[in-house]
């Protein structure tokens, strides 16, 4: 009796692991950058080619850094949310325009609206590598000391915004700079 139960137990344990595996998203990789200081980067701005966007621009305030591109379909979906939340004036949004043609990116912002304080134009994706960007859109919540506190892979959903990002921003705003 006991002996015949062993294969059944092995099966149940294995099935349990496989079932848990079904709901795991292999794309949702934990970023080693969370908890670390923002990487060094230096980009020319998208709209003003004379000016730059670098680490210094993110210093001393809570910010949301959003990597996007005009060729990225998911970014268009997320863009609606960014346009909505920017009206609440909770957090300034800075953009990294990832591997995009300047003209395409400008047309995108013209057409859909511009929620960004400024955008860095990362044509060759080098700043993207520094930020560990795998696929757009990706977003980072950065605190006053320039430490990445949270990262979203893929589009930010309304749920993620209200349940996680909004409370986090409120909390980070209370922290000393």
């Amino acid at each position: 009796m006991k002996r015949t139960l062993i294969p059944l137990m092995v099966f149940v344990v294995l099935a349990g692991f496989l079932f848990a595996g079904l709901s795991l998203n292999p794309r949702n990789l934990p970023s080693p950058l969370v908890g670390k200081t923002i990487p060094q980067f230096h980009l020319t701005q998208l709209k003003n080619t004379e000016a730059s966007f670098s680490n210094a621009d993110l210093a001393g305030k809570v910010t949301l850094v959003n990597a996007w591109a005009s060729w990225c379909i998911t970014c268009r979906q997320e863009h609606e949310l960014l346009m909505t939340v920017i009206k609440k004036n909770e957090v300034p949004i800075y953009g990294i325009n990832y591997k995009d043609e300047r003209a395409d990116a400008m047309a995108y912002l013209q057409q859909l609206g511009d929620p960004y304080v400024m955008n860095g134009h990362d044509l060759n994706g080098r700043a993207g590598i520094e930020w560990g960007i795998i696929a757009t859109p990706e977003s980072f919540v950065v605190d006053k000391r320039g430490i990445i506190r949270y990262k979203v892979n893929g589009a930010i959903t309304i749920e993620t915004w209200t349940k996680t990002i909004e409370p986090l921003i409120a909390q980070l705003n209370k922290e000393p700079g």
Binding site: L29, L33, S70, E130, I134
Partner: protein, 164 residues
């Protein structure tokens, strides 16, 4: 109606084209054969984080091409393999390595195959010892049955010696 799929394909074209092209590494980009071999060895053990089941050597993803450029540039600046891997791990995590490091979060990953092997060996040894303890062995009993059957048929086997 047949125009619909064609139109859809044509619509895809500008999107497909919009992705910024980046020229891949050419053999002429290497300064020596030694460097080329080292580069090839290195990118074999690194994972493309976009197309997750391919390594950097095999992938044609735009990010993989960028990373190959990054790696070659770092090699040409005199960085060691370890420094290059550390650079990538710092940005993309251990996932970028095909050979995960042995640390707290990977104890189980590394230990399970060995634990399973020892468990299987232990089962095997136990089984063998159990078999040896059983006297007379089932195999002997079968031979006896066979011998009886053969004798009944008028034939002899070595087992018949003991009968006398």
């Amino acid at each position: 109606m047949r125009l619909l799929p064609v139109t859809l394909l044509l619509l895809w074209l500008p999107i497909a084209h919009a992705v910024v092209e980046n020229k891949d590494i050419m053999p002429s980009d290497f300064t020596s054969t030694e460097q080329k071999l080292r580069f090839k060895e290195l990118i074999k053990d690194l994972r493309c984080t976009v197309c997750q089941n391919q390594n950097l050597a095999d992938s044609h993803a735009s990010l993989a091409i960028d990373l190959r450029h990054q790696i070659l540039e770092m090699m040409q600046k005199g960085k060691s393999d370890q420094e290059i891997m550390d650079f990538l791990v710092a940005r993309y995590g251990d996932f970028v390595l095909y050979n995960p490091p042995f640390k707290q979060s990977t104890y189980l990953l590394w230990a399970i195959p060995f634990v399973a092997l020892f468990f299987a060996l232990w089962l095997l040894v136990r089984l063998i010892m159990k078999r040896q303890q059983q006297q007379p062995s089932p195999a002997g009993a079968n031979n006896q049955a066979l011998a009886d059957a053969l004798r009944n048929a008028g034939q002899s086997t070595p087992e018949d010696k003991h009968k006398k």
